[in-house]
């Protein structure tokens, strides 16, 4: 674990020296930024606050093959990622790295999911501290921070002309070595500390989550959900852009005789998500689905894994087309009067 630095104008050079790794970094994709495999180091941008689609897709791709087979045959050819491959995510924000540590719980709950877990194992995470949190960021309320080290192998700070890099694990050290980074001194580490402290002060929004997981089930029948579900489009934006959302569908696909079983992102916000073959749908309207989504992230998930499934990245708030604001919902849930839900 050490302190390193490199000049800002050497960014492309540093990325080029990581030839041993398959590197992913924020890359412009039209007007938005996405974590893509680095083909041209000069195209990588660290100017954007965060990618719209979270880097969760690097561990849990939007669509991936579980196994291949030929129709008529019974041999299965699994497409499990290689745990010993060398991948590196460069410039991941602390909120997204912390999200991995939350989702790890689920993908290793009793049954281990080798597709996700092998990718987690083979990936080095080089984080990028936030100097200027955005209007809807609230990571400190969720146990994070603009310079949180949770889940990271190294953490970079933008100090103007220089990037300061603090390595946190062996993987981080290996990265610093491969990139040929210079050693940094006290000046840089102190400047980073100062930036981290100032950034924390710049976070404008917050929520005190104490008591929310216990309170939400008591609001099951409360009409306040309709305030939000009435305008919900039932689309997948909040869930697909959420770094801790992990739901998926499994489908068999065949092209002539070549077939595969694949999984792809799914969302509890779609009406078809829970529909039974009989046509019965336990969550027929947006009210049930909105209530379920919030309850899952803020009550059911922490009940199982002792951590709220949210990192305060603000993507759901920033991208909801009808301004359903998560912090607004949580605040209203704290104000609403709970009661014993109607059971049998």
């Amino acid at each position: 674990m050490g302190d390193y630095k490199f000049a800002k104008d050497k960014l492309a050079e540093v990325l080029s020296s990581l030839g041993d790794y398959q590197v992913f970094a924020p890359t412009p994709a039209g007007d938005v930024v996405r974590f893509l495999e680095v083909k041209d180091p000069a195209a990588v941008t660290l100017e954007s606050a965060n990618s719209t689609v979270p880097p969760k897709e690097l561990m849990f791709p939007e669509t991936e093959t579980l196994f291949k087979y030929r129709l008529g045959d019974t041999g299965l050819d699994p497409s499990v990622p290689d745990a010993s491959a060398r991948r590196l995510v460069f410039g991941i924000r602390p909120c997204d790295a912390m999200a991995y540590t939350i989702v790890d719980n689920l993908f290793s709950w009793d049954f281990t999911d080798p597709y996700y877990l092998n990718r987690r194992e083979n990936t080095t995470l080089v984080g990028f501290a936030c100097g200027d949190p955005c209007a809807n960021c609230f990571c400190p309320s969720m146990g994070g921070a603009p310079a949180s080290e949770k889940g990271l192998d190294a953490l970079m700070f933008d100090l103007g002309d220089t990037f300061y890099v603090k390595t946190l694990t062996d993987k981080g050290d290996a990265f610093a070595k491969a990139a040929g980074l210079d050693a940094a001194g006290d000046a840089e580490s102190k400047a980073a500390e100062k930036q981290a402290e100032e950034a924390l002060g710049k976070v404008k929004r917050s929520i005190d989550t104490a008591g929310i997981p216990e309170k939400l089930p008591s609001l099951y029948d409360h009409p306040f959900w309709e305030q939000f579900s009435d305008r919900c489009l039932s689309c997948g934006i909040c869930t697909f852009l959420c770094p801790t959302c992990h739901c998926f569908d499994i489908q068999d696909e065949a092209e002539a005789f070549n077939a595969r079983r694949a999984r792809m992102w799914d969302t509890c916000m779609f009406a078809e998500y829970t529909v039974h073959t009989s046509g019965h749908n336990p969550r027929p309207t947006r009210k049930e689905r909105t209530r379920n989504r919030i309850s899952h992230k803020y009550s059911y998930f922490p009940e199982k894994f002792d951590v709220i499934a949210c990192v305060g990245c603000g993507r759901c708030i920033n991208n909801c087309p009808v301004n359903i604001d998560l912090l607004d919902i949580l605040e209203k849930s704290k104000q609403a009067e709970g009661k014993e839900a109607k059971t049998a």
Binding site: A135, R231, C235, D266, V322
Partner: protein, 326 residues
Amino acid sequence: MVDLKELQDKAKEVISRDDVRRLIGWQRGTYGFESAPIVVTDASDADKLIFDPTCVQNPASFITLEEKRPVPRGQEPDTRKVAVMVKGCDSRAIVQQLVEKAYPRENMIVMGMPCRGVIDRRKAAALFGDVTPDEVKLDGDKVVVSLNSETKELARGDILADKCMRCRYPNPLVSDELMTEEVEKWGADEFADVDEFEKMSPADKWKFWEEQFSKCIRCYSCRNVCPMCYCVECVVAKLKPQWTRRSTDISENAAYHVQRAWHLSGRCIECMECQRVCPVDIPIMTLNRKMTRDVKEMFDYEPGVDVEAEPLLACYNPQDPEDYIM
């Protein structure tokens, strides 16, 4: 210019009527230049209603989004009316929904809001950053943004949505009452955007769409926000048979977008909401604008304008261009 107090009082009056169940309009958003649709069911909430250039959403979408719950035994279905506030472009959705007989006209109370433009949030963010303005209003030819007791005046084209600069219908085409005076049309629309795109070679066009469709995450926000996408079972959700797979590769993504453009031809009323909501910036309306222009040229037809019109693909004219029934 709408008088907000008058608007809210009128809304209170409407929602207090015995025969009105809900009223759909806009409320202030929670940050930045946001507004949010609001469904008012009680007069006490009418104070939340607003109307200013931030009111981008199309309330007509929320008429068809409302689910029909089964009526409990012994109860009668609630047949009270729905009131909805609509801008010019929004009102075309209501007209087209009426043309398609989505609901009886008597069920709706349409409160018309003549409109001179709504802001483009991305343009606003580029100009102002992460701020929440105190007020946004139109004053003559300018958009006035008040922020921290300072006001900034902008040319309309600098901050309003592109669709607004070429708006063909600023005044609602259907309404029971106009909430403010009609406005004079200012723009013209020759479908220059479609012409421009058509100049590309087929190879370049495909390259363009390959790049755009590869970004698609199939969130279906474009479909769900569309006031004309209200099929009970959408073709992309079907499993028996499955027409479009759920996997997010270029083949299925392209199929989805092209399918939707086809299903909207002769029906899309160009509110541009689909393009606004897309989280990965796909220029979805490029396809729909092309279909709109072609429909106009081939059939001299414009959806969402005349309540008495027939749906394009459900009627036949002996002068139609095709040689045969196809």
